[in-house]
């Protein structure tokens, strides 16, 4: 690439680049752990609430509150980690916003205003307006939250899809500008990833719901009907979600960068040919992504997929019989142990996608090393330590709270608790201990 096209404010220290990459990888990966469950669980909670609203069933209303509480805990931590992501492009990667911001920034802007703004406002209404609205209005609120969460995912993937497969742009004055907006928004790299991620999120939520329910059935909880139904929902959602995720994942291989594909398949001759090709096009340099990360992550993802496939197919059959749903304790243990599997798959999937396109941040147009902000290594190290320790703490607290609330089971407090009743309860005026 013509050096004059790179960010003007001078090169950053190589150490800053490594630290900035590590920070982005850890925070984006950490953020996505929350996203995966949030996106899937929101959908399941919205469906449960639809069922509860249509039928007026008390059991389903309790299911909305229990799974909704776990969703809200996870969502809250997801939001606060997402805040950091929003600002990280400008903080650490100002070369990217300088060179590609006109294309890349547009979808970020739409994500914040059109999707996240609406999602947050409606989520507040859903949580705090539990007994204030007509039940149909309250149902509409969770659907708006869910659909705008999908819109959010789409806009973020427009940005990410552009980085992986830049289309619909033209160069003007050493910067990228939008040439064809429709091409940017219908980038195959975006649409396929969107289908893959939505299905992956439902898979994560399905495994989560099945695993938590299995714990209670294993413990022979008196809430057998509640958790029997929940377990079935989780298992019956997981199988189709797994196949949809696999289908979108498989098709993505056909539109992937050739170098990533060659490194993943360990085709040495192809790698050498592509490297020579890129040297001829872009000048001297190493254009081969790390094989350990690319191939390692790809294989780990496929292993997790294979394990989940056996579990899902077997589970689909077992969940058809009442006896096995309530009594097959070995299966309950397997379901509990399998809760982390979708997380392993989604994170290794992201590592495969992002490590495999290196050394490019915008594929074929801007190298990662030319995108990093000219910040001192010391400042970047401080920020890395601050954010990763905060994220690690939040992730730990999230797991602890999810386990705690999941183990207690459905109780009449927390999300959806009727505050008007609390006011009449004299015990409540003594202390806030009942919350």
């Amino acid at each position: 690439m013509d050096p004059s096209l790179t960010f003007a404010s001078g090169p950053a220290a190589p150490e800053t680049l490594d630290l900035a990459r590590l920070q982005f990888a850890l925070t984006a990966g950490g953020h996505f752990l929350f996203v995966a469950l949030t996106l899937g669980l929101a959908t399941l909670v919205a469906c449960l609430q639809t069922r509860a609203t249509l039928s007026g069933s008390v059991l389903h209303a309790r299911m909305v509150r229990f799974w909704g509480q776990l969703y809200v805990i996870n969502y809250a931590v997801g939001i606060v980690t997402g805040i950091v992501m929003e600002f990280q492009f400008g903080l650490s990667w100002s070369g990217l916003t300088h060179y590609a911001g006109d294309v890349f920034g547009a979808s970020m802007a739409l994500e914040t205003v059109v999707a996240f703004f609406v999602e947050s406002t409606f989520l507040g209404l859903w949580i705090f307006g539990w007994h204030r609205f007509n039940r149909w209005v309250h149902l509409a609120l969770i659907w708006v939250v869910t659909l705008t969460a999908y819109a959010s995912a789409y806009w973020i993937l427009v940005a990410n899809g552009f980085l992986n497969n830049p289309v619909g742009y033209r160069e003007s004055g050493g910067r990228l500008v939008i040439g064809d907006a429709a091409a940017v928004f219908t980038n195959p790299s975006t649409l396929l990833a969107f289908g893959h991620i939505v299905a992956g999120a439902l898979l994560t939520a399905g495994f989560f719901m099945a695993g938590v329910s299995a714990y209670h059935l294993f413990k022979r909880s008196p809430e057998w009907e509640f958790f029997g139904r929940s377990l079935r929902i989780g298992v019956f959602v997981s199988l189709p979600a797994l196949f949809v995720a696999a289908a979108f994942g498989g098709v993505q291989f056909t539109v992937m960068q050739p170098m990533k594909e060659a490194v993943f398949s360990s085709k040495a001759a192809e790698v050498a040919r592509l490297q020579a090709d890129m040297v001829a096009r872009f000048g001297p340099g190493d254009y081969v992504p790390s094989e350990a990360w690319t191939r390692g992550a790809g294989i780990l993802m496929l292993l997790a997929f294979a394990l989940m496939m056996y579990l899902c197919i077997a589970g689909f059959v077992l969940a058809c019989f009442k006896r096995t749903v309530y009594r097959f304790r070995l299966w309950h243990l397997a379901l509990m142990a399998a809760v982390p599997l979708p997380y392993v798959a989604v994170i290794s999937g992201w590592v495969f996608r992002e490590a495999g396109r290196q050394p490019w941040v915008v594929y074929g147009l801007l190298k990662t090393e030319d995108a990093v902000s000219s910040v001192s290594p010391g400042a970047m190290r401080t920020s890395l330590i601050v954010f990763t320790s905060l994220f690690a703490l939040l992730a730990a607290v999230n797991v602890w709270l999810l386990v705690r609330h999941a183990r207690v089971g459905p109780v009449d407090r927390g999300l959806g608790h009727d505050e008007r009743a609390a006011e009449r309860d004299p015990a409540d005026s003594l202390a806030a201990a009942s919350y």
Partner: protein, 264 residues
């Protein structure tokens, strides 16, 4: 629309969302800063946090939208500003994360130690955010987007801005609370004054903060390409009234003073 009209509209949208954040988000940050003063003891403090609980998520998204507008309509300035102000933005974000985590998770585990820990996170996070804003604004007022402010002027600006956040939060608390916390929140307005007057005054000052900072920034010079703006600006103009309507609905729904705790 020609490019200069689009640029002006983009600046207008940025100013609107930034001012919205300072007025609305500033209120709950200010109340969070003063939570130990307003609420003595666990129950009262929970009531103080409940005064802004249904709003804080809807308030802070004004800043998220401001950042989105900045990266979408002024990408070059966004990169320059955030990387140039790295040392200020990192504590601002860290404070924000800590504060929100405290708010969201306060009621989710038992034990007075847990709630006290979350209250500390809310208070310290709120102070960190307010002081970081003051420090950031000290640089922006002088038009230097790419270098952080330092020296006594920066310190005084940071303290003054934080004091304004606190005063704004106090006015908000006086309009929302009841009982003893309400009596404490009236300290600024006195016995005869009306809380909304103080809130309107601090609100106007809060809105003036980002606007006067924006005047010194090279906004139109760093606006995105005409194609991007021609696409983004109309879309945002269409959506903004809807966002306002939903926000107004939230404020209307939870307009009554708080007398009992809620989800937080």
């Amino acid at each position: 629309m020609d490019t200069s009209t689009l640029e002006t509209l983009a600046v207008g949208l940025l100013a609107f969302f930034a001012a919205g954040y300072f007025v609305l988000g500033g209120a709950d940050i200010g109340t969070g800063m003063l939570a130990p003063y307003l609420g003595r003891g666990d129950g009262e403090r929970r009531l103080v946090l409940t005064s802004f609980a249904p709003f804080f998520l809807g308030n802070e998204v004004w800043l998220v939208a401001t950042a989105g507008l900045l990266i979408g309509c002024f990408p070059e300035l966004e990169g320059e500003l955030l990387s140039g102000q790295f040392a200020v933005v990192v504590p601002l974000l860290a404070g924000w994360v800590v504060r929100d985590a405290g708010l969201w998770l306060r009621g989710r585990a038992g034990g007075s130690w847990w709630r006290a820990g979350c209250d500390t996170a809310v208070v310290c996070g709120s102070w960190a955010v307010a002081l970081a804003w003051g420090w950031l604004l000290a640089a922006l007022f002088t038009g230097s987007a790419d270098t952080t402010a330092s020296g006594p002027v920066a310190l005084l600006t940071a303290l003054a801005v934080a004091a304004l956040f606190a005063a704004h939060g106090l006015g908000f608390a006086a309009m929302r609370l009841t009982g003893d916390p309400y009596a404490r929140a009236r300290v600024l307005v006195g016995r005869g004054g009306r809380p909304w007057q103080s809130f309107a005054l601090t609100g106007a000052l809060m809105a003036a903060l980002p606007l006067s900072a924006g005047v010194a920034l090279p906004l139109t010079e760093s606006a995105a390409d005409g194609t991007t703006l021609a696409f983004l600006v109309p879309a945002l103009l269409v959506v903004t009234p809807l966002l306002l309507a939903v926000q107004a609905w939230t404020w209307h729904t939870f307009r009554h003073r708080v007398t009992r705790p809620s989800y937080i």
